[in-house]
Amino acid sequence: MFADADYLSSPFFWGLLVVVCLLLLILNSIGDLVENATFKLLTDEEKQAYLNEKAIPYFRKLWNSAFKKQSPIEEKQILIDHGFDGITELDNALPKWWLGLLYFTIFSCVVYLIAFTFTDYAHPDVEYQDESRMQLASIKEYEKTAPPIDIETAVYDSENIAEGEQIFKTNCISCHSESGKGGIGPNLTDKQWINIKQKTLFKNVFWMLENGSPNNPAMRPFIKEGTISGREAEKVAAYIYHINQEKAPITEAQGGAAPQGEDADWQE
């Protein structure tokens, strides 16, 4: 409401504000006139009582209308005559703050209905389109400084291994199990590879993440479907390079899946 404050530059907004202030001043003057006229009609006693009441500061009046209890004589006047079991009910005046809130909510309802009917205000699908557009634009801005990684620009960096492991844990262990030892999906730590599409292991992993497996649809094209970004894939590939080339393979005896595919002869 305040962040994208386009309305502050709108002449209609300021014009409306000025008109409303003028109207409030006029209303105030009319109120004073009415008060003066009715005051003159009161008896002296009533005048004094009225002036006493007027002398009470505003917030105290508000507090009183919420919390002050009435005197026993006043109570008799507002006692409602349908009690049972000794439980009686008093017809208290509604507290001013409560009434104020009630009128405000009714007023807001009217404003909201008009706004919703005639503008895009609070339409979830439109708000979503706007949010998407803004986010995609800000991503584009960011990518000016950090261009998206694709298979050509992805490089191995040992710093990415830890984050790659986290992404792997979120997306991959449902099939490839922890540490990539395989289960539903193949063992990623051994020398055998089913799909050899690139010359280096690192790029091959990236290729698989981008395009998915040609023979098994469960290995989805994670990058193309938008589940992970190219940057994330670069990190995952670093992790898989690490568990495949830099750590010992998890053998069948240790719980890993059996080798599948052919011996891969990775360049480096």
Binding site: I80, D81, H82, D91, P124, D125, E127, Y128, Q129, E131, S132, R133, Q135, L136, S138, I139, Y142, E143, A146, P148, Q166, I167, K169, T170, N171, I173, S174, C175, G183, I184, P217, A218, E225, G226, T227, I228, S229, R231, E232
Partner: protein, 379 residues
């Protein structure tokens, strides 16, 4: 309110005083504290988890991609809620003790013939200057009629338009009815109460679409649910939204996850459902269900589909079992062992409840995927 009523009425009805006012006071404060410890941690948890869900990296990926990270973050609040519940329950136990003792030392007031006091004659002087509200309160029949009319108008205005205007819900041509096996699976989903923790509606928020349907995904459209009777949108996300869960995880993953969620997802707080693995699926009502969907809810099943429902379910369940066995040989071995030990009492995996549930889960959100890739870019 119920507690107040009980504490007031029991002494009156048993013509005595409450056995321990002190215990009653303890109940009051325990109950109050219990409510506070129940509600306030959940407020905090809601904000914490919600803000975590919505965090984006500058490159447009989610910071907390893993659902379980957000759940783990609010576990302390769940524990505080449990404490609140204990307090509240403890207070109620004190009340039971108090009421029991009060009754024991009292004597029950049997029915006494009595009449309501004659309606006070409301004189004209009293009626002078009374507002219409007080007037209406003195005429109960009229008040009831007016109240009913007011509520009826509100109800009709809210409900009738959406019931009668068919074009309110855009039909999506790619959305097809559930297969008979999937219908059974859906009923299992309802029976096990899955929709009390898992929602099935991706709301139009960028982070939500990103989390549950990827960068090019879509939020849930009304037309996707036309064959969901009743809908399972849910109202809480203890666990992630499942509306686009279909084909995200292999069948054997679902098998293991239902058996014990912590096998596949470390740190999960989802309860186990091992009986789904052992129970035989009751298919005696299956064809009747399909027929009911068609006759009562106008779901467009053809006569051929209804007649071949059993065969259809057999084929589908066999295919799922085949996939599970090829993905997870350990499960295949386990089943073999069971078959040899149980002999005639063995229920083949195809006939068990888990297969129906897997069929349903794997179907969720897959209809719209055929068009999802085409409507990828958001303008």
């Amino acid at each position: 309110m119920a507690f107040g009523v009980i504490y007031y009425l029991v002494p009156v009805m048993w013509r005595t005083k409450i056995w321990s006012p002190k215990l009653a006071n303890w109940h009051f404060w325990l109950g109050t504290l219990g409510i506070i410890f129940y509600a306030v941690p959940m407020y905090i948890a809601g904000f914490t988890q919600g803000l975590m869900w919505k965090q984006f990296n500058p490159d447009g990926t989610l910071v907390y991609k893993n659902w379980l990270d957000t759940v783990t973050a609010i576990l302390p609040y769940f524990k505080m809620r449990f404490l609140g519940g204990l307090f509240y329950l403890g207070g109620a136990v004190l009340m039971v003790i108090n009421v029991y003792k009060t009754i024991k030392f009292g004597s029950f007031q049997k029915d006494v013939p009595t009449e309501a006091a004659a309606l006070a004659k409301v004189g004209t002087s009293r009626r002078q200057g009374e507002g219409w509200h007080v007037w209406l309160e003195r005429t109960p029949h009229l008040l009831s009629i007016f109240a009913f009319v007011a509520i009826a108008i509100g109800g009709l205005v809210e409900i009738v338009p959406t019931l009668t205007i068919k074009s309110n819900v855009t039909q999506l041509s790619s959305v097809k009815p559930y297969s008979p096996l999937e219908l059974e699976g859906r009923d299992l989903y309802v029976r096990e109460g899955c929709n009390s923790c898992h929602s099935q509606m991706i709301r139009p928020f960028r982070d939500e679409v990103m989390r549950f349907d990827g960068k090019n995904g879509q939020y849930s459209k009304a037309g996707e649910f036309i064959y969901d009777r009743p809908f399972l949108w849910g109202s809480k996300r203890t666990g992630p939204d499942l509306q686009r869960e279909g084909q995200k995880n292999p069948d054997s993953w679902h098998f293991k996850h239902m058996y014990n969620p912590r096998i596949t997802s470390a740190g999960s707080i989802m309860p186990r459902f091992p009986w789904l693995i052992t129970n035989k699926l009751d298919r005696t009502q299956m064809t009747a269900k399909v027929r009911l969907m068609k006759n009562t809810f106008d779901v467009p099943y053809t006569k051929a589909e209804i007649d071949s429902a059993d065969q259809w379910a057999d084929n589908q369940s066999k295919a799922i079992v085949k996939r599970i066995y090829s993905e997870a040989t350990d499960l295949k071995d386990q089943m073999e062992k069971e078959r040899s030990s149980k002999g005639n009492a063995f229920v083949p995996l195809e006939d068990r409840e888990i297969i129906a549930l897997i069929a349903y889960l794997q179907r969720l959100g897959t209809d719209i995927r055929t068009t999802a890739v085409k409507t990828a870019s958001i303008k």
